[in-house]
Symmetry: C2
Subunit: 265 residues, 2 copies
């Protein structure tokens, strides 16, 4: 019963194609926030009910004070749900993208088309919120089987603020490069998902070789090094994990999008 109601709420937010979320306004989201509060028994903006204060926990995650965590504190499920499904997540993302756009607009390009900008995919370019909303908002351990099944649906909705940056960069002559922890065998569905959600014009999509065993930082910084060695200038790099934006070469400027759902080291 509770799960069925939650699925209904998520459907309400995302619509059938994900396009509904792109147009979502805060006043539309308000009743969803309220309903989710009732559902999860959460109350107030602080999400303090017994355990760690959830807003302080989220801040510590975003400022890289909290590392190597496995799951969202159980007592914060309702708080994280409200954060993600309400207007707060979108608003926080918009401020990051505003800053990235201002930075990009201020760049002086070399005129040879060598400037690139690295985009992570999951929770950066596409949202897996429909999955996480039915799997405890990060409070449950990662389940590769069910998560990969979700990825293979190719239905992840766009993160509209990131897409705004993506399009702005193309208009400025900066080439987007996707660099993702998704594996090479997920290339076709990932391309289909990206196109379906309105992405086009990227220079390159780098996926991880199947069976590759290094950490995300080692894998991603290694791929950025290859771009640099090929003569590209990484003027920007945006991701939802610190492991997207740490490790030389990071890119001239890095941006950390919010993600209170999971941690990748």
């Amino acid at each position: 019963m509770a799960t069925a109601r939650l699925v209904l709420l998520v459907a309400l937010v995302f619509g059938t194609s994900g396009g509904a979320w792109a147009a979502q306004e805060e006043d539309v989201a308000a009743p969803v926030i309220h309903a989710l509060r009732l559902l999860a028994g959460s109350g107030g903006d602080l999400g303090r009910h017994g355990g760690v204060p959830c807003d302080s926990w989220r801040l510590a995650v975003e400022a890289y004070n909290m590392r190597d965590w496995q799951t969202v504190p159980a007592s914060c499920e309702g708080y994280v749900g409200n954060y993600m499904l309400g207007g707060h997540y979108r608003r926080d993302s918009a401020v990051v993208v505003d800053e990235a756009v201002a930075y990009a607009e201020g760049l002086k390009l070399g005129g040879k088309g060598k400037e690139v900008w690295v985009f992570d995919i999951d929770e950066t370019s596409l949202s897996n919120l429909p999955y996480y909303a039915t799997h405890g908002f990060g409070t449950k351990p990662y389940n590769a089987t069910s998560f990969n099944a979700y990825v293979l649906e190719g239905s992840a909705p766009v993160l509209p603020e990131t897409q705004r940056l993506f399009r702005k960069l193309i208009s400025l002559g900066i080439k987007p490069v996707f660099l993702t922890g998704r594996t090479e065998d997920q290339r076709a569905i990932t391309v289909a998902n990206l196109r379906r959600q309105g992405y086009s014009g990227w220079m390159k999509l780098v996926l991880k070789p199947v069976g590759f065993k290094a950490s995300a930082i080692v894998y991603k910084s290694g791929e950025r090094k290859k771009l640099q060695d090929a003569g590209y200038v990484i003027v920007g790099n945006i991701g939802d994990q610190w492991s997207d934006i740490l490790g030389t070469p990071e890119g001239a400027r890095t941006f950390k999008l919010p993600d209170p759902l999971y941690y990748i080291g």
Copy 2:
């Protein structure tokens, strides 16, 4: 009139010696939050009134998305005031320190007393909130004359969460080192202020040479390098600015305390 009322409020929070803040509980702070709201015309937790959403701005500052900013957005004065004077700042700081204490307790020390932990001073070990509360909560440009006059009073109150970490480290056998952007000519008053607020037992207090012109990152990482070259192991490093914790050697683990009042690059 408005200023006089604000001074009264700050006095209410800090008491005369600063000791009142150390014992401050959220329920005590509540009426202050309310009064400040009326004063500054702010409303709600989000602090969204016209300009940038203040909570998203603060998150972007803490996650190092917002860089080289000069002043707090004028529309966020009330929001930042509420954040700093209410329980929110203290709660966010407590979660960071909880994480630092857990990390320190998990360390295996070499047994030769070589492990050190670097502490910044302003907005890390001591609070300049009494100054900022009467100078627009960071919305006004930095005024070296009035700020230095405040520092020379030696009255900055303790940040109690940081002091909890400081004392825990000493009990574990890890030596605290203060590393501050305050200049060498402020040594005596800084020592007096630290002692008055209950700090004792630090291994070293490093102040900046008068007239030193490098950036904070260059200055501080250079001093950490000297510690390392002298045989010390920097197991931890805590500050309120990203420039406290960036730059090789950073320290084995870094912690970013909240600070929405000012930016030092």
